[in-house]
Amino acid sequence: MSPEATTKTTYHVPIGPIHPALKEPVFFEFEISGERIIDIDVKLGHVHRAVEWASRKRNPIQILYLAERICGICSYCHPAAFTLAIEAAADIEVAERAEYLRVIQGELERITSHILWAGVAAHEIGFDTVLFLTWEIRERAMDLTEYLCGNRVTKGIMTIGGIRRDITKDMLPRIQKDLKYFKDNFGKLAHIFLDDKTIKMRSQGAGILTKENALKLCAVGPTTRASGIKKDLRADTSYFAYGDLDIDYITPEALTGEVNGDVYDRIIQRLLEVKQSIELIEQCVDKMPAGDIVSEPKIAKVLAQLKKANGEGVGRHEAPRGEVIHYVKLTGEDAPFTWKVRAPTYNNILPWIPMLKGEQIADIPIVAASTDPCMSCTNRVAIVNNGQRSLLNKEQLHRLSVEKTRRLMH
């Protein structure tokens, strides 16, 4: 039903602040005509925690752990980008072996995050068996993280000038065993996601982001690559050991030969990236040089050096959701003068608008989830009380989405 076909006025449907897809706070207000979405307004800031401001009272070593707590899933990317920024600003050397170990940690995080996302996406369209299957695989990735870092979520592995834990020879068999497990199960996952009729029906042609929009709205990560833009920091620039590794851009073209920029393409994109990550970890394990894992083991010395440093630096790291960029300015004090964090979802908010326009209400969860939003990363500063508005809550919305899948199957 097109808006012109009816004389009725449009309705405004507020959704949120608890996110319809991932359980995260973002507030949508949709203008609806019948079942079609005409306009979208996004409100943010429900979990702004003043992280950047809090850094004014902390030294760079302390900020590493503050950065780690920006996001639970990206608990490696934020300290990584911050470390890169600090190292650029103060011109600190990095141990060569640590560069490879950093890549391994980053890619392991990508595997964990993308598989988690695959499960959530399946859940959004009512395919809960796949949710449990993916999370079983993810559990293995979490166990491997725990084995390499000591803890499951807050890894605490990054440090300025290197990395805090080495991968010794006796740890390699365990890594290889788990990589083999991921590879074996990757085929299964790919089969379910790429060949299943229901998933295709729900995701093909839904939430289209054109190449032009992705470019103009500055989308990042798998969202922009699924629209056919070759933008991957790991290949574009040389940071960590990515400059040494054999890595190529991945777009959905690699599998289907065409780019539509729809939800289905974003599913393909993430699955292909999981495979790429496994290969990158294997390359790193092979090529890793021997040596120290940190350029200056005495942290007190590093802190003294940073206290003297003057300058500004930018650290960029390709996180699972896209580019994380941190800007740091040092002015010869304990704490950095400025620290600005940009999480990938920040840039992936505006692309939601062209994606959702013209879609049905039941498509909101899967389309919104398809950018893998992480709102707590994006809102880093205050607390908000959103008043009394009648809401279509997430259970109702989820039910709508599941019902649409059922309708399509019959």
Binding site: R58, N59, I61, Q62, T154, R165, L303
Partner: protein
């Protein structure tokens, strides 16, 4: 797809469950009474999943080795460490600790280390269990 999920479903029926029943195999009728019994040594806890090597749990503090250099205070992200001026030793509030083990790394005499203990839940943030000194 056909019936490709049938295999996993059948396997699931005979597999040992992944879940580790902790702290008891079956839900006790009263948790407090159960924990009292554990405290009295009458019942044994069903053990938790073992922690991995290098796990960062409750901090162990070797007071004798500490020289009172205050370096750990400088790096602690949560300001969980307090310096006792009188006897030149430290006091760690675990309720604020984020278990990053940065104080372990910077300590020149290695008087701090991380244990495997992670069952630290308490109702009082200043209880005896949660203060290391």
């Amino acid at each position: 797809m056909g019936f490709s999920m049938l295999g996993p479903v059948f396997r699931q029926m005979f597999k040992k469950p992944w879940t580790n029943k902790f702290p008891a195999k079956y839900q006790p009728s009263s948790t407090t009474k159960y924990l009292e019994a554990v405290g009295a040594g009458k019942v044994k806890l069903n053990p938790p999943v073992p922690t991995p090597p290098g796990f960062r749990g409750k901090i162990i503090y070797d007071k004798e080795k500490c020289i009172g250099c205050k370096l750990c205070l400088k790096v602690c992200p949560c300001e969980a460490i307090e310096f006792k001026e009188k006897d030149k030793k430290i006091k760690i509030y675990l309720a604020r600790c984020c278990f990053c083990s940065q104080c372990n790394d910077i300590c020149p005499t290695k008087c701090l280390s991380m244990s495997n203990e992670f069952l630290l839940a308490d109702v009082d943030p200043y209880s005896k269990e949660l203060i290391v000194e």
